[in-house]
Structure formats: C-alpha cells, structure tokens
C-alpha cells in the first residue's frame, strides 16, 4: 500500500505559547532565553527578521532588544509542555498513527487518507489546532518521513505564508530535491554534507540519484534509508511508543556561581529528586548513579570538571536513597577555592521497577519507602511540583530567604495552565 506521512510543526512554538496568553504581543518581536537566562533559544518571526541570532548570549543582544522593544521571556517549560500536550492530543484525532517527534513536531500517518481530499484534511487540522490552542501550525505531506520534513520546510520558505504543502508528484519532488542542499536533508547533517561535497554530491537530488552501494559505503545503512526516502520509498516507520529512557540526566547551572558546598549539596539533592520522580513516572529503577561538578576558571585556577559514579546496592527510585548516594558521590568532587557553576545527576542502568532485585540482607524497609514516595508524588501532582520536598534541598522563601542556587528566570511568564494561582486574569 502506498504510504503517506505528514510532519506537523508548531510555528515559533515558544513565542506562540507566550502570545496565546498575551495577545498584545501579536506582531511584536519575542525572544525566549535558555535555562538560567543564558542565551536565546527561540525567536518569533519578527525577532528573526531583526537579525537576532539563535544561540546568542542574552547580554550581547541587550542593545537590539532595547532599540526594537523586543519582549524577552525566560523559558517557561511548564507552559510549553502543557500546550505541546494539547496540540499532540488534537493531532491524534486527525490520524490513528502519531509519533511525537519533539515538543513542537509530530509525524502523522495519513496513508489511509489517500482517497480523501488531503489539502482539506490538513487545512482542517491547522484550523482546529489554532482555534483550540491558539498555536499556529504548518503541515508538510509526502510519501516518506524525510520528504514530509522537506515539504514542511517549503511552507516556511514560500513567500506567501501557506500552512500546508503536499509533495506527491514525482516531477515536483525532483524539482524540490534539486533546490535543497544535501545538508538540509533530515538526518544528513553538516559533517556528512561536507563529506558528500567531496564526491560532487551537493543537492538532495544528487543523493537520491546516487547508487545504493555508494551511499551505503559512505553513509552506512542509515544514509541509504535516507536516500531511499528521498526517492519516495518509505523506510523509516512511525515510532509510536516512546522508549523508556535509558538514562536520565538532570543538571542545571546555579543561579549564581558558588563556592559553598552546602548550596551545591542542596542543588544536587534537588536534581536527584527530579531524577527519582522521573524514574517513578516511568515505573523503573536505576542501578547506577553519577554526579558531576563543574567550575569556572577563577583567579589562577583553571576550569574544573570532575565526576563520580556509584553502583547502587539495589536498583531504586526512592528519592531518599538517591539523595543519599548523590551526596556520597558529590563530597569527594568538591575542592576548596573553585567557583562552581553547575552540577548534575545522571541515573543509568535503568530497569523496570518490577524487575528490581532485592538483596538478601536489606536494611531498608522498601515497601515503606515506596508508600512514602507514592504519597509525595500524589501530593505534588495535586498541589503542584515541589509542594513536598526533602529538607536536603534546603528551605527557601521567595521573599524572605531567596534560593541562592536556583536557576535564574527573571522574565518567566505565568504558568497559566498548570498553576492555580498563576491563571490568566480576564477583566470583567
């Protein structure tokens, strides 16, 4: 059966999320900063037009920002995550097969729609998403995922903004491939593009027309799949069930660089808490824990990076246990005289909770731990993240005793859809 895929992409997703709840910003330039307000990770179309580059450190853009009244936001992942989930739920009603590819992109299987009017179906999808969520989306439709990605790019390139692009006609596909640089093809990347240029392969069409043996030799079977996809032979299936994560990492820069071990311990305990909660959410346990610590170069000292890995006696997802071991791993990493900027906790060798083996001599009452963690999770899911925390994270108060290691997010908008006390207010 002939296949047909769509790639649905939310336009300037983070900026669009902010606009849904601040319609005043319609048509105005917006940028969104990375964690800790470091650099620019998202821009509205207007900000792109001003020439504000992606990835630029925040302080380097201050002049442009001031001059053009660019609205700056700290990243608000509570909001973006919730809006993304809404968009994906709506998309799921337009196709029985959906692969959530990233926070703002999804592949849909539209193979069973061949006889329907594709254009209308896709338009209806765009209209529904924008009406229900306020997020504008664009859709690229083609016989393979790689071509659907290309079709989606077309919607952005075309001068008159069109939300839907369909690539089905062989001649048309060739035309587009001839105009696409091979490095812009999904899955090729800069390094491969450089390598291919040496063989005179510059466009996507060149790659599609290369022999299987040549592609396989230089780009392995992965590249061969891409080449076939460009020819319109679907080789990459939808991945509909997300794999449980093989390792989980939580790391953040401290709000301010610190020399204080206690602060680093608190922050690291917090990251361990987040790892534990993620493990429990996917009903798994971890057997190995790694902590790393990183410092800036300071005075005469060079930069510092060190990490320590601990094999846990029993695979666990208990916050209390992970904090204990994270602290054990952290302590030997700490050396006086450095200004530390970041620490992180990585848990790995992850196994299903049901398979976690118990040792013969166990000193921990695990069922009690488990009940406690269930209670904590249920309180935090009802009343909001961090309602109940461990003392190891320190106790802070926004006004009286601000947290010294917490990430900076000076320009964060309200978490409109996930926090009862930050809801949108409407004037009556």
């Amino acid at each position: 059966m002939k296949k047909l895929f769509a790639l649905v992409d939310c336009n300037n997703f983070y900026a669009s999320c902010e606009r849904v709840f601040k319609p005043k910003l319609e048509g105005k330039p917006i940028v969104v900063l990375s964690n800790n307000d470091g650099c620019i990770i998202a821009r509205s179309a207007e900000a792109k037009a001003l020439g504000i580059p992606m990835g630029q450190p925040e302080f380097m853009t201050r002049e442009l920002v001031k001059q053009h009244h660019v609205k700056v936001f700290s990243s608000n992942y509570a909001l973006y995550g919730d809006m993304s989930a809404r968009v994906m739920q709506i998309l799921a009603t337009f196709s029985p097969g959906i692969e959530v590819y990233s926070i703002d992109e999804a592949f849909l299987d539209l193979s069973n729609l061949l006889s329907q009017d594709l254009q209308q179906h896709a338009m209806k999808l765009c209209q529904t998403v924008v009406k229900w969520t306020g997020i504008p989306v664009s859709v690229g439709i083609a016989p393979s995922k790689t071509l659907a990605k290309l079709a989606n790019r077309m919607t952005k390139k075309s001068g008159e903004k069109q939300a839907v692009a369909i690539l089905q006609d062989t001649k048309e596909i060739e035309d587009i491939l001839a105009r696409t640089k091979v490095g812009d093809v999904w899955g090729i990347g800069k390094r491969n593009a450089h390598k291919l240029a040496g063989f005179g392969i510059h466009t996507a069409l060149d790659l599609a027309q290369a022999s299987d043996a040549f592609v396989k030799k230089h780009l392995t079977v992965v590249g061969l799949r891409t080449a076939k996809e460009l020819r319109g032979e679907p080789c990459i299936e939808l991945e509909q069930t997300p794999d449980s994560k093989q390792n989980i990492c939580t790391s953040r820069s401290f709000g301010n660089p610190t020399t204080n071990l206690e602060h680093i311990q608190e922050a690291t305990a917090y990251y361990a808490t987040l790892c534990a909660a993620k493990l429990r959410r996917q009903q798994s346990c971890a057997k190995v824990l790694t902590v790393y610590l990183q410092a800036y170069p300071f005075k005469n000292k060079p930069a510092y990076y060190n990490s320590k890995t601990i094999m846990l006696p029993v695979a666990t997802n208990s916050t209390l246990e992970l904090i204990k071991y994270a602290n054990m791993a952290l302590k030997p990493l700490y050396k006086k005289g450095y200004r530390y900027k970041k620490s992180g906790v990585i848990v790995s060798e992850i196994c299903p909770q049901a398979n976690a083996q118990l040792p013969l001599l166990d000193t921990i009452d695990r069922s009690k731990h488990q009940r406690l963690m269930q209670a904590v999770d249920s309180i935090n899911s009802t009343w909001g993240r961090d309602t109940v925390t461990t003392a190891a994270q320190g106790v802070y108060d926004q006004e009286k005793r601000p947290n010294p290691w917490e990430m900076k997010s000076m320009y964060r908008s309200e978490r409109y859809t996930t926090h009862l006390n930050e809801l949108l207010c409407v004037q009556a």
Partner: protein
Amino acid sequence: MRESPCTLQTNIPLPFEILSLQEESDLELPLMQSCVAAGFPSPADNYLEDHVNLQRLLISNPSATYLVRVRGESMIDARLYDGDLLVVDRSLEAQSGQVIIGVVDGEFTVKQLVLRGDVFYLQPANQQYPPLKLTDEMDFKPWGVVVWSLHKIKRNL
C-alpha cells in the same frame, strides 16, 4: 443578517470522530454509599452506580479547555464575581447570548456577546458599564466561550 465575527469557516467534515483523549480523574465523589451491615448483603448493592466525576462534568474537551480568573465587577448581574474561576472552551463557536472571553486591543475581557439588529455588542452585566459595539475597524478577537463559572461560597476554607 451579518455573519458572526466569531465563526471560523470550519465546515469541512472530518474523516474521524474527535474523541476527548484525556480523562484524568483524581476527583471522584461516590454517588451512592451504603453502610454494610454484617451478615446481610446490602439491598443497595445492585443499584451501585458510577461515580460523579466533576472533571468530566466541567470539562468536555480537555485539550481546548482553559481556566481563567475574573477580575472586576462588570459581570456581577450575570453572577460572575471578582475572583471567580471560569471554565473556558476554545473549541466552541461564540454565538449571540453566550458569555465569551474576547480580546479587545490586546486585552482580555469577559462579556456577553449580543446581536442587536445586525450589530454585535460586548454587553456587560452591570448598569454602570456601557456595552461595546463591535465594528470592523476594531481590534477584536474571540478567545473562547465560558461554559462554567466556579464561585466559592465558603471563602475562609
């Protein structure tokens, strides 16, 4: 009659029925409860019914539903008071007579949408506030339709 400024042209039929996907329900109130007397099976057992689910009652389309808070007095005659929570469904088409969330000059407002003759108005429910006539030149956009208002009776809880 003029077309409502709030209707989107979405009359293309869908090949699938739109189902609401998410039915998280932490909040379930038992509809019937009977004490069990030892030894006797409860005669009510055969009548045990499903639970009342507030979530399901208030939110029929989770991915299009948003909670917002009322600020101000202009809707008090419609029993929307300062501080109340509104359940807003963006998937519904705003029609005359409904209470809607609209955006006027980039600001959110909650008012009743009213059609008089062939002109739409944003109508407050408080005599001290004037209605706002919706003209073509105006910067107005519908944002959602209010389906429930949640007013807390016992304030000191």
